[in-house]
């Protein structure tokens, strides 16, 4: 066992399947998906798409944080603050500055939901809201809420953003730069992203069907999730309950196309290979893969090929949870990190909903029912535009 393990001692999550870790677990164990027609955003595409939306309005979320009426929190910041607060609470942190504590968040869309409202129409309100546009804004607000004044950073690598935030946090703990770090990501739904994915013609008008031969595309979602990572020393000193460990991580670039994944899943293959090496385990030690599995024709084929390059005909049990939550972009790596830890804690694999027929080129069948199994290592993939591929490996011990 290597020195300086990275323990996970707290988790918080807001997603379309629940406003807490418990609610998310309950939904995952009971096939309760969060995909439905859009409610909170006025868009002309509302009858053509289904999304994983958090039903609380911004006003309701603001109340959960006791914010004054005239605030400048984007939806991304609101969701991020609530989820990060839950994580710190579960980790039972009373004095955040008692140890060298950092925050690494991530977002893709940032405060675009606010910018959409005042763009090219400067007025008194835009003066208040304008700086909420920037990607750093939600991170600053979370840091303020948690009282973090030390190392604070933000990653943005599209749909693999949170995985990279988690990875940096783990590396800073391993190298002794930080004792404790809150890591994760947040992205609220915005017209900008809905229309963006719509123009790429990769949005499904039905519930998405990851790894299915007849998959039509993804459902967008919104979410935020944070994990508290702590060093072995802090865990020992504070006698902390450990939920799981972050054992491995890998990052590579597909260097193939700005938005499409390469046919042989090169970036995904490299990211998984690196993560296995850092975790110092053999591929077959992985008991369950929480796949990126967006349900786009391109991703699932490419990711499946990458898994087959590593495992041949013996791909471990795998599933994509995106049919529950939708693709939550920058937050995806963080919510799926939470799900991976929940899988380890409960020795359970979550179903890949809506699957019927295997992709002929792959002949891979995901886990389609809630399945109990002793789990020691769970691997989670996150891939993004720009060829940014990241893999995290979580372990029980």
């Amino acid at each position: 066992m290597s020195q300086n393990r990275v323990a996970i001692t707290g988790m918080g999550i807001m997603s379309s399947i629940g406003n807490s870790v418990e609610e998310n677990l309950h939904a995952l164990l009971n096939n309760k998906k969060g995909i439905a027609p859009i409610v909170n955003i006025e868009t002309r595409h509302k009858n053509e798409i289904k999304v994983g939306e958090i039903l609380q309005t911004n006003e309701e979320l603001s109340k959960m944080l006791n914010l004054p009426e005239e605030h400048n929190y984007s939806r991304t910041a609101l969701l991020g603050c609530i989820a990060a607060k839950q994580a710190v609470k579960q980790a039972n942190i009373r004095d955040i500055e008692a140890f060298k504590t950092g925050l690494i968040s991530s977002t893709s869309v940032g405060g675009m939901d606010l910018t959409e409202k005042h763009f090219q129409n400067y007025n008194a309100e835009s003066r208040r809201l304008i700086n909420s546009h920037h990607a750093v804004d939600s991170t600053e607000k979370i840091a303020e809420l948690l009282g973090i004044t030390d190392f604070t950073s933000t990653t943005s690598t599209a749909c693999s953003s949170a995985a990279n935030a988690i990875m940096l946090g783990a590396r800073l703990i391993k190298s002794g730069q930080l004792d404790r770090v809150i890591v994760g990501g947040t992205d609220g739904l915005a017209k900008f992203t809905i229309n963006g994915f719509k123009t790429l013609m990769i949005l499904s008008d039905t519930d998405c069907t990851p790894f299915d031969a007849n998959r039509k595309g993804l459902n967008l979602g919104e979410a935020a999730a944070y994990l508290v990572l702590e060093s072995d020393a802090v865990v020992k000193q504070e006698n902390k309950t450990v939920l799981g460990y972050l054992a491995g991580y890998g990052n590579a670039n597909d260097a193939f196309h700005q938005t499409a994944s390469s046919e042989n899943g090169e970036g995904a293959f490299l990211a998984m290979t690196k993560a296995l090496k850092i975790a110092e385990i053999k591929p077959e030690d992985v008991n369950y893969i929480n796949a990126h599995g967006t349900a786009t024709p391109n991703n699932d084929l490419s990711e499946g090929k990458a898994m087959k390059r590593i495992y041949g005909d013996f791909v471990p049990d795998f599933s994509s949870t995106k049919a529950f939550t939708g693709h939550t972009l920058a937050a995806a790596g963080a919510i799926e990190a939470v799900y991976s830890v929940l899988a380890l804690q409960n020795n359970v694999m979550f179903p890949n909903l809506n699957f019927k027929t295997a992709i002929p080129e792959l002949d891979l069948i995901p886990v389609t029912k809630v399945t109990k199994k002793s789990l020691n290592y769970v691997l989670s993939n996150s891939f993004g535009f720009g060829g940014n591929c990241s893999t995290l490996i979580f372990s029980k011990n």
Binding site: T43, R44, H45, L103, S108, G110, M112, T115, E116, H118, F119, Q120, Y122, S126, R127, I130, H133, H134, A135, V136, T139, E140, A143, T149, D150, F151, T152, S153, T154, T155, S156, T157, A158, N164, R171, L172, K174, S175, Q177, K191, F192, N195, G196, T199, L200, N251, A252, N253, D254, A255, F256, H257, Q258, T259, E266, G384, F385, G386, G387, N388
Partner: protein
Amino acid sequence: MKPCYINSAVSISAQDTLNDSSFLENTISFEGKLAKAIHPNYKKFISPIASRRMATAVKMGVAAAKKALELAELEIPDAIITGTGIGCIEDSEKFLNTILDNDEQFLTPTSFIQSTHNTVGAQIALTLNCKGYNVTYVQGAASFESAVIDAQLMFHENVANTILVGGTDELGKFLINDIILAEAAEEQPILTPFGEGAHFFTLSSLKQNNSFCVLKGLKIFNKATTETIQTKVEAFLKENHLIPEDIDAIILGKNGDAFDILYQSLQDSIFKDTPQLHYKHLCGEFFTASAFGFWAATIIIKQQYIPDALKLNSIDKSSYKNVLLYNQLKGQQHSFTLLSSC
């Protein structure tokens, strides 16, 4: 942390920093609120077909990155780590305008595809066919520094020998006007113009023949006040086995706003007898403007010379061995960077 050797430094900025071989001798001053970058002939770096689709930041970033690799005689780095504060705002604005003007109809994907913050890092990877580690940081004024810290960490972990790091920001065309209006309404607003630029550096874990400078330490933190900043800088120097008197020049991210008191408190105390420098009057204020300061520091160490345009006081030193940078924006996203001769 292991030292990081710097083998090339490239700046595309509102000054002619890419083409002019003199070091900030012929500087331009700005009348208005914008300090737009002086663009190179991009044909030298990017094919015209690819260039046509690229927004300003992507072009600047790819060109600066390629030039940095060329100067360091490096074909493919082990990792590409970039920072940007505002991201690809030109394409974001283009896409947003079409959504708003046409009520979400008649949209094409190109500007959306290129609007994500990681576009510059991704396009560099694609251009070089570099499959290594690739991350983009978006921590406001500490975006570039976040990227450099990641590189430092990779050397510490022995997982890379050479890394390309850089910072890129573009002005865009619309949001910047509102940012200027909002800033002007502040009691003590930013007085330098708003700028843009791309700064790229190749770093190595081992000293090479072409290494001309070494990064000894870098710290980012989110909050500080005039009461705490002096203690923080002293602690940072101590971690690097230095005292304030060892610093041969301090480069400050002054922009004229109310938060300049943070810099002033250091100028008036521990660094009052140190050569004091500023640079944002030359490159403008933008989230990765501190990379212009970083670039200037590496050239000062290389050439052992401080151009007048950078000087805030008239103190000179016989040699410039240790240069410290301090930057922050609106009292947040602070960074200390220590560069030394090697």
